[in-house]
């Protein structure tokens, strides 16, 4: 039976390779040899295709079994029932159980980076990938820096949130190209006010204002993973698309990767809304010479043109604190970090008192002493 996974191994010592974000090369964990992505990609292309084919074959068989079982009593495995897939690590033989969207992971037994077959091939193959530029140490340093200066952060949180467990994830995104056609009709008003004796006189000049124009939007990102909170993925934008590369699995070793589970059609609505809002705002900015603008009619027509399936680099840390979940996300290219932190109410009260009480004392001194 063909392997459904690919372990990228060092041609020199067969040690596991991982993508080094600082050099942009694949580096051996053991001997430290570094290889160009294109070289390893060429060597492993055939192996990855076999893994993809084996995974596809398995999926067909599983589908046939499910179809057959549909006419009989359903006897599905627990893994199938919960949408999980199992793979064998080619290095140590351990069984890897992953959810249906996982495309790259690390073997929990031998620690080797593993790319799963069939998840990023065929119709599921991304068009682009944006390689990580910030490595794990940089991500940890950035997160440590993020905690600094946060006045309301509980002291114990920093030491108890397992910051070293931060993981690099290639998150599936849809990048939408679109063209927006905007038409607006307005009553623009310019006013002047002056006094004539006991009367205040206001004269208002009215203008019939028409605006029509077109705006082109390129690669508006919407994450295609239901596991990723939209707020977090939106907040780490923007990415520098000039560094996009054609997709290759050779960029994946050493990181987690997911395939999309929300298709382009599902995600297009969010992109469309954002595009409409930006176009409407751009249209209104052309009316800045008017003090008051009454909108008579405004139409924004967005034509969605193409969706590029792309993997974008994100460092993620999920941690629990006092029965609450906290998720941090960092742009793996720019280092922009966002996340919700726990708030120590005692510290809020202390800060409030520290500011308010001295000010009260100063005011009492100024007004009454």
């Amino acid at each position: 039976m063909a392997d459904k996974v690919t372990n990228y191994q060092c041609p020199a010592c067969t040690g596991p390779l991982h993508f080094d974000s600082t050099t942009g090369k694949l580096v051996c964990d053991y001997c430290g040899s570094a290889y160009e992505v294109a070289d390893i990609e060429a060597q492993y292309a055939q192996k990855q295709q076999k893994a993809d084919a084996a995974a596809a074959s398995d999926e067909k068989k599983a589908a046939a079994r499910r179809a057959k079982a549909a006419g009989e009593d359903p006897v599905w495995s627990e893994a199938e029932a919960s949408g999980l897939s199992s793979y064998s690590c080619t290095t140590c033989g351990a069984e890897l159980v992953c959810d249906a969207t996982t495309a790259a992971t690390t073997c929990p037994y031998c620690g080797n980076p593993t790319v799963l077959g069939g998840k990023l091939s065929g119709k599921l193959k991304p068009e682009y990938i944006l390689p990580f530029k910030m490595d794990k140490n940089a991500a940890i340093a950035q997160l440590t820096k993020y905690y600094k200066g946060k006045a309301f952060l509980p002291k114990a949180f920093k030491s108890q949130n397992h910051i070293a467990e931060i993981q690099g994830v290639y998150v599936p995104f849809w990048l939408f190209d679109a063209e927006a056609d905007a038409r607006g009709s307005y009553d623009g008003q310019v006013s002047e006010s002056h006094r004539e004796g006991d009367y205040r006189v206001t004269t208002t000049q009215h203008y019939d204002v028409r605006r029509e124009g077109t705006a082109t939007f390129a690669r508006v990102p919407v994450d295609g993973s239901s596991k990723m909170p939209d707020e977090h993925m939106d907040s780490i934008e923007p990415f520098d698309y000039s560094e996009l590369k054609p997709f290759s699995t050779a960029y994946l070793p050493g990181f987690l990767a997911d395939r999309y589970d929300e298709d382009a059609k599902t995600c297009a609505d969010r992109a469309k809304t954002r595009i409409e809002n930006s176009t409407a705002e751009a249209l209104r900015q052309t009316l800045s010479e008017y003090a008051v603008v009454d909108t008579r009619e405004e139409n924004i027509n967005v034509r969605m043109k193409k969706a590029h399936y792309t993997l974008l680099p994100v460092w993620m840390l999920h941690t629990r604190w006092k029965e609450q979940d906290f998720l941090f996300a960092m742009n793996g290219q720019t280092g922009r970090l966002i996340g919700d932190l726990p708030v120590d109410k005692g510290r809020v009260a202390a800060w409030f008192a520290r500011i308010a009480l001295p000010l009260m004392a100063i005011l009492i001194w100024l007004l009454y002493l």
Partner: protein, 269 residues
């Protein structure tokens, strides 16, 4: 010629009589009592001491300090009675008849404070309320002499404060004043507001994940206009009657009625 001499003599006699009348009336005007014990509450020594203190209080301030005791005012309102008394007796100092009068009607156990002329400016509503708060409990206890003395002393302090500071004693410059609601609002409200703003800014740093509603980073060359038309249609003209008005302070100061009197509406003791 005889007729002319006679007329000049008459005119001279009339002028002499007028000068004499004025000269005779001056001591009477100068000695008009400031403490007017119509009820007969005080003995001679107390009355003299109070009178001396009242004269000292008013001295140099061009504002007389009156303390009046009466028996009954009938059904008349105590403020109206005091105003009539002030006018009928031509009280007050200087051409604008400046003064303050505290009246107690022992028959009906009522009191009131009125001010007039420069007294309205010198004695603010805030200060009159303070004076009455000090004096009225003494009246209720029957300590009339102490009440009168306290009233005169407080009036003296008030007039001295006005002379020294150039502004009447009010809630915002009273060195011994309580905070008051307005003061509490300022002292507590402003620092609390500033602290709340700072804390909300710090709190916002703890929650940075927000869903985006725009795509400004991806608009490329921006909006390219193919139609940009601005066509003038008409002009509106709106006139609103808004006469210039003098600035007035929002709080503090002295209230004045239509007769030009300030003071309190009084009460019972």
């Amino acid at each position: 010629m005889k007729t002319l001499t006679c007329s000049l003599r008459r005119l001279g006699a009339a002028l002499a009589a007028a000068v004499l009348a004025v000269c005779l009336s001056l001591p009477a005007m100068a000695s008009a009592p400031l403490v007017r014990d119509d009820y007969g509450l005080f003995d001679g020594d107390t009355l003299s001491a109070l009178e001396a203190d009242a004269e000292e209080a008013a001295d140099g301030h061009d504002c007389d300090v009156y303390f009046l005791t009466v028996d009954s005012i009938g059904d008349e309102d105590q403020r109206a009675y005091a105003k009539n008394y002030y006018r009928d007796n031509d009280l007050g100092s200087g051409s604008d008849r400046s003064g303050i009068l505290f009246m107690i009607a022992l028959g009906s156990r009522k009191y009131v404070t009125i001010t007039y002329g420069g007294g309205v400016t010198a004695f603010t509503d805030y200060r009159i309320e303070q004076i009455e708060d000090e004096v009225v409990p003494m009246l209720s206890d029957g300590d009339y002499a102490d009440a009168a003395q306290t009233y005169i002393d407080l009036c003296a302090d008030t007039l001295d404060f006005y002379a020294e500071n150039g502004e009447p004693l009010d809630y915002d410059n009273d060195p011994d004043g309580d905070l008051g609601i307005f003061g509490i609002l300022i002292v507590v409200g402003i620092p609390s507001l500033i602290a709340a703003i700072v804390c909300s800014i710090l709190y916002a740093q703890m929650k940075t994940a927000k869903r985006k509603t725009e795509a400004d980073d991806y608009i490329g060359a921006g909006l390219k206009l193919r139609v940009q038309r601005d066509h003038y249609t008409h002009t509106d003209r709106v006139e609103v009657y808004d006469p210039p008005h003098e600035e007035s302070s929002s709080s503090g100061g002295s209230s004045v009625d239509s007769d030009g009197f300030g003071g309190s509406s009084g009460g019972s003791f």
